[in-house]
């Protein structure tokens, strides 16, 4: 009695599983999802308050990075005052959360009207490829984004039609916020060492042994997340070759290569600095967050980072130097308009608001760097220094972006590879070869 029942139930279970598999394999994954059409009307003149009013009482749903919250507290009330029929409803996500979920949210039936993506293949590339975001070429034309300060910062948000290369083509996003890499220094320590703030990587390289000799850790580095090392690498690499070549490589341009003398030299420099002890010991076991905290607490003479680290440092004790010849900058997460939105006028009005000198000043006031740098200034000396560095990199044309934009897995490939180089476990030639192989795989 017992045995047949046992077998029978097993059979039922197996049957159920088999049916479930059969059922679920009816259609290829993704074939049920609605393919968004880019039907939302193009605009041929600036959006007026009355254009937006035609939408009636409406809610503009948005997704944004948590870091935007202080800025949004200033922007949203002013926007809602100007367009009284619109209510702004923003869902905030931590940056990691945002980049891993926003594409799926944009693809869902209940997609937000306006949202932030992230430059590069992982997020923006996927959004463009799946036609989830509206082209902004008409908006840029009407509002004159293509001229004046900030025009060049739009480039990373331009894509070809198939979403396979970026840097030129159709505009799909706009970021009002910029970032600049450079070097923070501890003022008191520089003074006691008798050094001036370095403005080039060559000057920095001269300062490092002096700091080391005095018993200080020259550069505070926390590289367990693998990205801090790539930032230092890119600061050096951009001085060794033409910035435009790096930009092409990051953008996925055919024929671009990472196997250059300049990149090998930069990797060698990283190795030399590491083996000379300029990064201290144990940097691969320290997170970047912990490293900036230690630097803020007085450990280390220099910290290679970027404007996003400024919030952790007080202006009295620290300064920021643009390594002008090597400073690297980029735009922050761009804003997109969903291709599914029915509230185009309100969404365009929102982007226009963000892309204004008023908001530019508010961006600086809330501790970040605006794309529109006309007439903005800060009373905070550290922030003013950072703003100057940003203008310098834009003028020098070294706003090449970040290496990890180029393929979805580049952060771990390049970050992990650099760790191996710095530990002396691989040669710089093998490193550039591995990176190029991953790039070729991602851009075939």
């Amino acid at each position: 009695m017992r045995k047949p029942s046992h077998i029978r139930k097993t059979a039922i279970l197996v049957g159920a599983v088999a049916t479930a598999i059969a059922l679920s394999s009816c259609a290829a994954p993704g074939s049920g999802s609605s393919q968004a059409s880019t039907a939302s009307a193009t605009i041929d003149s600036t959006v007026s308050v009355s254009d937006v009013a035609k939408l009636g009482k409406t809610t503009l749903k948005m997704w944004a990075d948590q870091a935007e919250q202080p800025l949004m507290k200033l922007v949203v009330p002013a926007f809602e005052k100007k367009y009284p029929n619109v209510t702004v409803d923003i869902t905030y996500k931590s940056f990691d959360d945002l980049v891993s979920t926003v594409v799926n949210a944009a693809a869902s039936a209940n997609a937000p009207d306006v949202f932030q993506g992230n430059i590069g293949y992982a997020v923006d590339g996927a959004l463009v490829k799946a036609k989830l975001v509206r082209s902004l070429d008409d908006v840029a034309d009407v509002y004159g984004w293509n001229s004046g300060t900030g025009a060049s910062t739009l480039e990373p948000a331009r894509w070809n039609a198939s979403g396979t290369t970026f840097g030129s083509g159709t505009l799909y996003g706009m970021s009002p916020i910029s970032e600049v890499q450079g070097i923070y220094y501890n003022k008191a320590k520089l003074d006691s060492l008798g050094l001036a703030a370095p403005t080039t990587t060559a000057e920095l390289e001269k300062d490092l042994p002096i700091a080391k000799k005095a018993g200080d850790q020259p550069i505070m580095l926390g590289n367990s997340d693998q990205y801090a090392g790539t930032h230092i690498f890119s600061d050096i690499a951009v001085t060794e070759q033409k910035p435009a070549d790096i930009r092409d490589w990051i953008g996925g341009k055919k024929g671009a290569t990472f196997e250059t003398k300049g990149n090998e030299a930069a990797a060698d420099t990283m190795k030399e600095w590491a083996s000379a002890g300029y990064f201290g010991s144990g940097y691969d076991g320290l997170s970047n967050q912990d490293a900036i905290a230690k630097f803020a607490g007085g450990d280390g003479v220099f910290f290679v980072g970027g404007s996003w680290n400024g919030a952790s440092l007080t202006a009295g004790e620290f300064g920021f130097a643009s390594l002008t010849s090597g400073g690297v900058g980029a735009t922050a997460s761009p804003w997109h308009i969903s291709s599914k939105t029915t509230k185009t006028a309100a969404a365009v009005a929102w982007l226009d608001t963000l892309h204004s000198p008023v908001v530019g000043q508010e961006i600086l006031d809330t501790g970040r760097l605006p794309v529109i740098t006309d007439d903005v200034s800060s009373k905070d000396p550290l922030q003013e220094q950072t703003l100057t560095a940003l203008k310098d990199t834009i003028a020098a044309g070294t706003q090449v972006g970040y290496y990890d934009w180029t393929t979805t897995d580049m952060l771990s490939i390049m970050g992990g590879g650099l760790q191996e180089v710095m530990a002396g476990r691989t040669t710089s030639a093998d490193f550039t070869k591995t990176v190029q192989a991953a790039w070729a795989k991602g851009h075939q």
Partner: protein
């Protein structure tokens, strides 16, 4: 596991038995009792598994329509040298995540059951604590403990062992064993509690008899406690091996697979492929292979532990009768 448990409940219900005899073996009324759980199980476990298996045969970015990939995703799993290295790391972690916790758990349980300790409950609770902490908390805490200027190195330096102090998680040679030891710390409490519960059910007269025959504590442990704990050891191994092979959060929150690729494990690549690289087919194929590997390893260990003749089975019946 859950399926087995459900089925046993079905069989044990008196009503079920009555109905079953009438309907030649099928107990519809008891199926009704488990229906809510079964529906939940089907929707949140069986269906996702089916979709995972299906997706593994496609190239799918989660957005556009998938294209059939045949077996290529599976071939990639076996062809990729980085994945093979990751699997090797997992096997080393088995020693730290499964073998060591079981050994430590046995020693602690053996000692605790023999020696009368005041405040035993408190100790038991404290030693079990790692098991109930969120793994992110565990990871962050250990990151601090193992840092180059952390307490562990401080102690080493003050007892004259400063030469071996290093950035434990940032050193290519020590990162993987360090993560392994964190796993040991998390898992031994669970093993200990399982074994203590098992020891309580051992007939005390067996120990008396052994003592009359002149057995010492060590002999007693190997002759009586260890064989009697076989079912608990088997459960402990299932849990710890599964934990070891699918472990992701500890590694992600301590080293992210670094330095270099020295602490990568397959589950790390499942995450990266699915959420970073948008290659859901590849991620699914790897997840399926990982699941099969876990099932095989667990089955092998079960055979080894339960293995010999009918002896362990008797013990098992005794336990389940309790």
């Amino acid at each position: 596991m859950t399926v087995v448990a459900d089925r046993r409940t079905v069989g044990a219900t008196p009503t079920g038995r009555r109905w079953r005899s009438r309907l030649t073996g099928l107990s519809w009324s008891s199926l009704l009792y488990v229906a809510p759980a079964l529906v939940f199980f089907a929707v949140f476990v069986i269906y996702p598994i089916c979709v995972t298996v299906q997706t593994s045969f496609y190239n799918y970015d989660g957005l556009t329509v998938a294209t059939p990939a045949g077996l290529s995703n599976y071939l990639n799993v076996f062809a990729d040298p980085t994945l093979r290295a990751a699997l090797g790391h997992s096997l080393l972690l088995l020693v730290f995540y499964a073998a060591l916790p079981v050994v430590i758990g046995l020693i602690l349980a053996g000692a605790m059951s023999r020696i009368r300790i005041y405040g035993l409950t408190v100790f038991r609770a404290l030693l079990f604590l790692p098991q109930i902490l969120a793994s992110v908390v565990v990871a962050v805490a250990w990151r601090g403990l193992l840092a180059s200027d952390g307490p562990i190195n401080w102690v080493l330096e003050h007892v004259g062992l400063g030469s071996i102090a290093t950035s434990w998680l940032g050193n290519f040679d020590t990162a993987l064993p360090s993560i392994g030891l964190i796993g040991t710390w998390v898992e031994y409490g669970l093993c200990m509690v399982l074994f203590l519960a098992g020891i309580v059910t051992i007939d005390r007269s067996l120990y008396e008899a052994a003592r009359l025959d002149g057995a010492g504590p060590v002999r007693e442990f190997f002759a009586i406690t260890l064989p009697a704990l076989r079912p608990q050891i088997s459960i402990a191994l299932i849990l710890t091996i599964t934990f070891a092979l699918r472990n992701f959060d500890l590694i992600w929150n301590t080293t992210r697979g670094g330095p270099g690729t020295s602490t990568t494990v397959p589950s790390l690549y499942v995450y990266l492929d699915a959420f970073q690289n948008r290659q859901l087919g590849q991620a699914s194929a790897l997840a399926v292979v990982l699941t099969v590997v876990i099932l095989i390893v667990v089955a092998l260990v079960q055979l080894a532990v339960r293995g010999r003749s009918g002896e362990p089975r008797t013990t098992r019946t005794k336990r389940s009768a309790r």
